[in-house]
């Protein structure tokens, strides 16, 4: 990849400032690779439970994504949420962009950048922005992912300091329809002075994923995890599922 497209990608990424995104139960692992021309319908769902209370929070999103170039993927998602049995409500609209900065295997670590902007339906929650590097490396048939995302909220009624999300995943590439491993999501707040563990979010647990070709260049890709809270403010249990229909 030449330097000029890379500089252009960086300019786009830097133009999008960082905001904060909630630790929704339907959060998912971002990856740094893009397939040009790929179209997908992306459904993301998650349920968070706390103690004996099941289904404390539920979140779902339906999005449409497209690989615009061989280094830029973009997706728009409508988000819904239900908390504490208050009824399902429209939560906001998210625009996600992934910029692939290296060809897989070209550098010692595959690198990309994620830039997300979310307009919350509740004006009091303002705009959320999330920005940061996506790292991926294969060790034989084991794939490791580590993402560091800065996020911040703008124009909301309550001020929030910039926060750091990190995501990680280790999975064994067993077969195309079935891969398995471990994944985790965490939120460190604020970014320049992490609070005590009882005020952080950390969810870790096993995951499965895979791809099912349907013929005619169509396919289903799934990713599911059962996460357990490992820090004070996390849900005790989170069941998350992502299904993509590629066409």
């Amino acid at each position: 990849m030449s330097a000029h497209p890379l500089k252009g990608a960086l300019c786009v990424a830097l133009a999008l400032t960082c905001l904060a995104v909630r630790a929704d139960p339907n959060d998912y692992i971002l990856t740094p690779t893009v397939t040009q021309g790929e179209r997908e319908l992306d459904f993301k769902f998650g349920v968070g439970s706390r103690g004996p209370r099941i289904d404390v929070a539920r979140a779902a999103g339906l999005g449409f994504g497209y690989g615009v170039t061989n280094s830029w993927f973009t997706e728009a998602t409508v988000q819904y949420v239900r908390e504490n049995n208050t009824g399902t409500r429209w939560d906001g609209i998210e625009w996600e962009n992934v910029l692939q900065l290296s060809e897989p295997g070209e550098w010692p670590v595959d690198v990309g950048v994620a830039a997300e902007v979310e307009k919350m339906h509740d004006p009091a929650e303002g705009w959320n922005v999330r920005l940061g590097p996506l790292l991926q490396k294969d060790f034989g048939r084991v794939r490791a992912n580590l993402n560091l995302l800065l996020r911040h909220r703008y124009a909301g009624e309550t001020q929030q300091r910039m926060r750091v999300d990190y995501q990680f995943q280790l999975k064994y590439l067993y077969r195309e329809p079935f891969e398995f491993g471990l994944q985790g999501f965490s939120e460190l707040r604020p970014w320049d002075g992490w609070a005590s563990s009882d005020r952080q979010y950390l969810r870790v647990g096993p995951m499965v994923s895979g791809a099912l070709p349907l013929g005619n260049a169509r396919g289903l890709v799934y990713n599911a995890g059962l996460l357990f809270g490992a820090a004070g403010k996390s849900y005790d249990r989170t069941l998350r599922l992502q299904i993509e229909y590629e066409f």
């Binding site: 990849m1 330097a3 960086l10 061989n70 295997g105 690198v111 920005l131 590097p133």
Partner: protein
Amino acid sequence: MRGVCWLLLLAAEPAVCAEPAAPVEPEFTIHIRMHQFQPAELKVPAGVKLRIVVQNDDDVADEFDSYALHREKHVPPKSKATLFLGPLESGRYPFKGEEHSGSGVASGLLIVQ
């Protein structure tokens, strides 16, 4: 915010500022003609990093897709795409192209030895 910008610039500096270097990996070329890979079987050395250039000579887009190699690459018409593989262990790694009506799915084999 300024700190964020510096962090991103430092992370990307080696890629942005580095002079383009001559390829050091062995390079091999696979052509796509009439929706078929040529050669359909390619022998490459084991234990070294490889550069595979997929040259699409057709007027329609195609792809190089291989789960065994963990690579999926779209190749526009009359264009080429570069893949970086390895080091790979000895073995046979299948790959395939995009499905086209009338010509099915092209298939190929990377033989690493």
